[in-house]
Amino acid sequence: MTLLEEKTRRNEPARFALRDGRLRTGRYSLRVKPRTVAVCLALIVLTAVLVVLCVGTGTYELSPLEVLRTFAGNGPAGAGFIVLDLRLPRALVAVLVGFASGMAGAVFQSLTRNPLGSPDIIGFGNGASAGALVAIIILNAGAPQTALGALLGGFATAAAVYLLAWRRGVHGYRLILVGLGVSAVLGSATGFLYIRADIGKAAQAASWMFGSLNDRGWHEVWIAALGLLVCVPFVLLHGRRLTMLEMGDDTAGALGVPPERSRLLLLCAGTGLTAMAVAAAGPIPFLAMAAPQLARRITRAPGPNVLPAAWTGALLVTAADLLTQRVTGSALMPVGVVTGVGGGLFLAWLLLRERKAQHV
């Protein structure tokens, strides 16, 4: 959304002007698209509204006003525990995980120059949950080690897919297809580990098979927040490189952006975001694919659209969570099921559009 440029000081009085999409204050200039800013703000507001609604949903219903008063410390008796210890962390995890996944999806789709090149299709989600299962079942890990297992699993899978797909550079479709194969192999490994788990760990392991927001507490919030804190500034700072890479390797190289190295760094950042999201909430399918596509259609802006994609992801997960709770009447259905079905349909729609475009 923004490019930060440093301009040399000119003999002009300092001005704060908004014109032609450029915010200028004498020394610094920020390129701004009003539509994108408006869309981001709208997404943030919508997400906040949905968070409030989510927190109010459950066996003990609270109206939005009561929820807000509980946040302020002035709510009905007994609501404080439910809101602040049970439901708020769950809603925050939803927002943070959606944010991370959306951003990771935008980065991957921009790098593979293909709307279908998202980390969940390429198998990183399966890799992270396989890593988490290894930690739980084989290493008897507690919560923080499981998160670490998810992280390592995600990175290992990403490295494996990247290396397997490498042939004088990694190009779009090969990455996707190799990712599909790796997904199948990892899916069977995950199923195998799940069977080996004894009853006590099976429940814990089950929550890593589908993305779920059940029993997500403040611990998971800190995991997700940590991941975001490390990876998001990295991605935003290198946003310019991402835009340049979209123009092609040769053009990017001529403009001073080393293509393979930048691609590798951004892939690492994207994998880090995905892995932290899986460590916090398990693999939520198709989020990283759908969020950037929807964001692009809403903002109609060229380029990777990293921040709108991130906020769209946050909105989607929160909406899916609210939908799951309202429709199934309980908080127990994993949100990954809803996004799996919805995402599959969305992917089908994308393919249909692409096919129609080819026939024009």
């Binding site: 279908l116 397997l164 192999v185 069977s188 399918p285 099921v337 089908a348």
Partner: protein, 349 residues
């Protein structure tokens, strides 16, 4: 099409050999029968309990009521027979699919057909409360047909590339398996009966199901064999096929019918078992070449061996519990898939 013929600049094509020497095909059929018998014996003898072959023989033909005889007759014999029938169906369906779509990456599991059958059966159980096997079968057939048509349409009927079909299959699989998992998780009381519909297995399958499905399996097999010649013509391209006098549209419709009959019945009996239809045609093509008139019978003959071996592996790796056959075939098939993608012989990679 099936093989890439582009060469990097600077290399010239080697002159074609006078005729590729292949082992005689009839001998291959005998080898297939032999391998099938070996696999069946393995399936009868090996498991949580190792039963010596002599006891297997007496258990089959001269039962005397001993424990081994009971295991062989009651548990392993039905399981082996189901494995043979289902393996043959899946291998044959995979062969037809690969010839029809001209896509070496095609497989009923990858392209969503098994998922369609599964989702339909799960719907029948939990939404409509159907409990008869025949009911399952009809639902599975409808589900398989709908999924096959959907993936075919999404992948682009005329302009389908291997990648687009694979992605269309991914989309349909994700949506349908998500739905299956969702129904299972919602209705925990029926979880046990529905456990089989997300991952296919030969474990504890009722032989009655197989008997009910057998007419459909036989019909699908005969239809596929009858289509061998038109499919061979279609593999040359639509224009050539029409010039050779076969009706493209009819061949397509009948092939999809055959695939639906085979995969729908197989999934109704055993749950979704994938990647057999991917692996077997590739292995078999090395011997028979791409001619469907030989390839399809070979697929039918060699596929059951693979499924039985996968099942045996699943039984011995974590004895006394079991890994479902689908997990083993996914593992092996996924590795083969990656290998095929890397070989660059797939068009548009």
């Amino acid at each position: 099409m099936l093989t890439g013929t582009r060469l990097p600049p600077g290399e010239t094509a080697a002159p074609p050999a006078a005729g590729r020497s292949r082992p005689p095909r009839l001998a291959g059929l005998l080898l297939g029968v032999l391998l099938l018998v070996v696999a069946a014996l393995l399936s009868l003898a090996v498991g949580a309990e190792r039963i010596p072959l002599g006891d297997v023989w007496s258990g089959l033909f001269a039962p005397s009521g001993s424990r081994f005889d009971n295991i062989v007759r009651e548990l392993r014999l039905p399981r082996t027979l189901i494995g043979i029938a289902i393996g043959a169906a899946l291998g044959l369906a995979g062969g037809v699919m690969q010839v029809l779509t001209r896509n070496p990456l095609a497989d009923p599991g990858l392209l969503g057909v098994n998922a369609g059958a599964s989702a339909a059966v799960v719907t029948a159980i939990s939404v409509f409360g159907i409990t008869s096997f025949t009911g399952y079968l009809w639902f599975a057939l409808v589900g398989a047909a709908v999924a096959a048509v959907a993936v075919h349409a999404l992948g682009g009927t005329r302009s389908a590339t291997p990648v687009r079909l694979a992605l269309a299959g991914t989309a349909v699989n994700a949506a349908l398996f998500g739905y299956v998992n969702g129904l299972q998780l919602r209705d925990v009381s029926t979880l046990d009966s529905m456990r089989y519909w997300a991952v296919g297995t030969l474990e504890k399958r009722d032989p009655q199901l197989l008997l009910t499905a057998l007419p459909l399996l036989v019909a699908g097999t005969l239809l596929a064999f009858a289509l061998a010649r038109p499919l061979g013509a279609l593999a040359l391209g639509e224009d050539h096929a029409r010039a050779l006098g076969s009706s493209v549209r009819r061949t397509r419709i009948l092939s999809v019918t055959a695939i639906t009959l085979l995969c729908g019945s197989a999934t109704a009996v055993c749950g979704p078992i994938g990647f057999i239809g991917l692996m077997i045609p590739h292995a078999v093509r090395a011997f028979t070449g791409p001619d469907p008139r030989w390839m399809l019978p070979y697929c039918t003959l060699f596929a059951p061996g693979l499924l039985l071996v996968a099942d045996v592996i699943g039984r011995i790796v974590v004895a006394p519990s079991e890994i479902q056959a689908d997990l083993v075939t996914s593992f092996l098939g996924g590795l083969l898939f990656i290998h095929l993608v890397r070989r660059r012989k797939v068009a548009q990679l």
